[in-house]
């Protein structure tokens, strides 16, 4: 009888040590998925904070709505003069949001043990993810191939002074700009003068590309392919044309002729690395979704009778990818 007072305590201890208790009321797998996502959040935060620190350390920074102002519709119908600032990335954001929603639907159907529903909504999620990846592939191709951005070259610059551009022959053009305006440094043999800051002064200079220099002296309306310092522009050995301009800001710089420069190198590296790392997350997410969808269709999770918990776990990962995009979108495109 004297022992009976201790009994409940002993009983309780044995219960604790016998396992099967879930202090956080989630299974081990889900809990560990949360902690993995926490660590992944720190990785992404590290990258994005590095972007912020480098941006703060640079005197100028490319203007996002100038850099990201093209979409595939420019190539089909709209023409390159039409600027669509941020439109394409907004569509990309919608794709991820929609695929997040279809993922929640898959999890809900899982709770009801509805196999057909799970498979259908997971398929929709996979399609959304693939759509996002395709958009990103187009975005990268456009930046690399047409705008010549690489990990260590950023052709998107920003003016720090007001000025007026010079024509190729050194005379003043009527194209003025203000401090803070962005520009894209063109490469000669693809330069059709059809980008953001379209120079209407030269109509068809793209055709002069094949026969270098043969167009010299045609009223100076074209950028001859000749490396060096010219009256109205500078061409480097890679064929980049740095247009010259006359400073019009009041002060001791007024009247001085300067040439465009490349933008901060770090921009290209940060862009490709961070969006690439996110894209890789989306890509691996699509692979895991595919595997789990096939398993679900094969009835693997029916036998487990745990409300398709595996679908819930991949769902957590997929929402995290969407969550990271919220911040990548904020940092790279909106601010």
């Amino acid at each position: 009888m004297a022992n009976s007072a201790h009994e409940p305590e002993v009983q309780q201890n044995e219960d604790l040590w016998s396992g099967g208790k879930q202090p956080l009321k989630v299974s081990y797998g889900k809990l560990m998925m949360w902690y993995f996502l926490l660590s992944d959040a720190f990785t992404f935060a590290g990258f994005l904070i590095a972007y912020g620190a480098l941006r703060f350390s640079s005197a100028t920074w490319p203007i996002p709505d100038d850099v990201f102002s093209t979409a595939p519709f420019n190539n089909f119908g709209l023409g390159h003069e039409t600027k669509l600032p941020l439109m394409f990335v907004t569509i990309m954001s919608f794709l991820l949001i929609i695929s997040s929603v279809t993922m929640v639907r898959a999890v809900q159907e899982g709770h009801r043990e509805n196999k057909r529903g799970v498979v259908f909504w997971m398929l929709m999620t996979i399609i959304g993810g693939l759509g996002f990846l395709s958009c990103q592939a187009w975005e990268w191709t456009n930046l690399i191939k047409d705008e010549h951005m690489t990990v260590n070259r950023d052709p998107f610059g920003t003016h720090t002074l007001d000025g007026v551009y010079l024509n190729p022959d050194g005379s003043e053009s009527d194209e003025v700009f203000k401090a803070g305006d962005g520009y894209l440094v063109h490469k000669h043999h693809v330069d059709h003068g059809d980008d953001a800051h379209g120079h209407d002064s030269h109509g068809d200079d793209g055709h002069g590309a094949e026969d270098h220099g043969s167009d010299d002296g045609h009223g100076g309306d074209e950028y001859a392919y000749e490396v060096g310092d010219h009256a109205g522009y500078v061409m480097d050995e890679n064929g980049f044309v740095f247009k010259k301009f006359k400073v019009t800001t009041d002060g001791d710089m007024k009247g001085q002729v300067m040439a465009q420069e490349f933008g901060p190198k770090a921009f290209g590296a940060l862009f490709f690395f961070i969006t690439g790392f996110h894209g890789f997350h989306v890509f691996s997410g699509v692979l895991f979704l595919l595997i789990i969808m096939i398993n679900a269709a094969g009835g693997v999770y029916v036998k487990r009778k745990n409300g398709y918990e595996m679908v819930e776990k991949i769902g957590l990962y997929w929402h995290f990818v969407d969550l990271v995009w919220v911040f990548v979108f904020l940092v790279f495109y909106l601010l």
Binding site: L24, A53, F56
Partner: protein, 142 residues
């Protein structure tokens, strides 16, 4: 785990879709507004950059909250789980302050050539175009 009923949950999801889409559109509009794409002259007012930046960050944080609490079901988990996942991220607050401060002082140092307070004059021959590390093309004539 207090779950919503199937029908209520379904409604909640489509509400979330509309909410996130609208917030995203509002964000894009504010961003374009700040860059003079909607109304001319906003960019020239220097204070708007801070107001719009603040709005954009606040809206993004709200989106993040919604995704974590609704889509990832954090709302329906026990409090210990939520704290153990969310509390560590508060370390990032200091990381943001410290590294942005660092970036800023990096810029100042480059301008002042390491001597705080002494504005270093950029030599005239370096005001041309930088084509490589320390390689300038002169552009004094014209």
């Amino acid at each position: 785990m207090a779950h919503l009923s199937y029908e209520a949950g379904k409604k909640r999801v489509y509400y979330g879709l509309i909410l996130l889409a609208v917030v995203t559109l509002v964000e894009v509009s504010f961003s374009l507004l700040g860059k003079d794409h909607i109304i001319e002259g906003v960019e020239a007012m220097s204070w708007t950059v801070y107001v719009i930046g603040f709005i954009l960050i606040a809206l993004s944080l709200y989106k993040a909250y919604f995704i974590i609490y609704e889509f990832m079901h954090m709302k329906y988990e026990v409090r210990g789980l939520a704290w153990s996942v969310l509390l560590p991220t508060s370390l990032l607050i200091w990381a943001v302050i410290a590294f942005f401060q660092e970036g800023n002082s990096w810029k100042n140092r480059r301008h002042n050539d390491g001597n705080p307070g002494s504005k270093k004059e950029v030599p005239a021959e370096q005001q041309g175009m930088l084509i490589g590390e320390d390689v300038y093309i002169l552009s004094g004539r014209g």
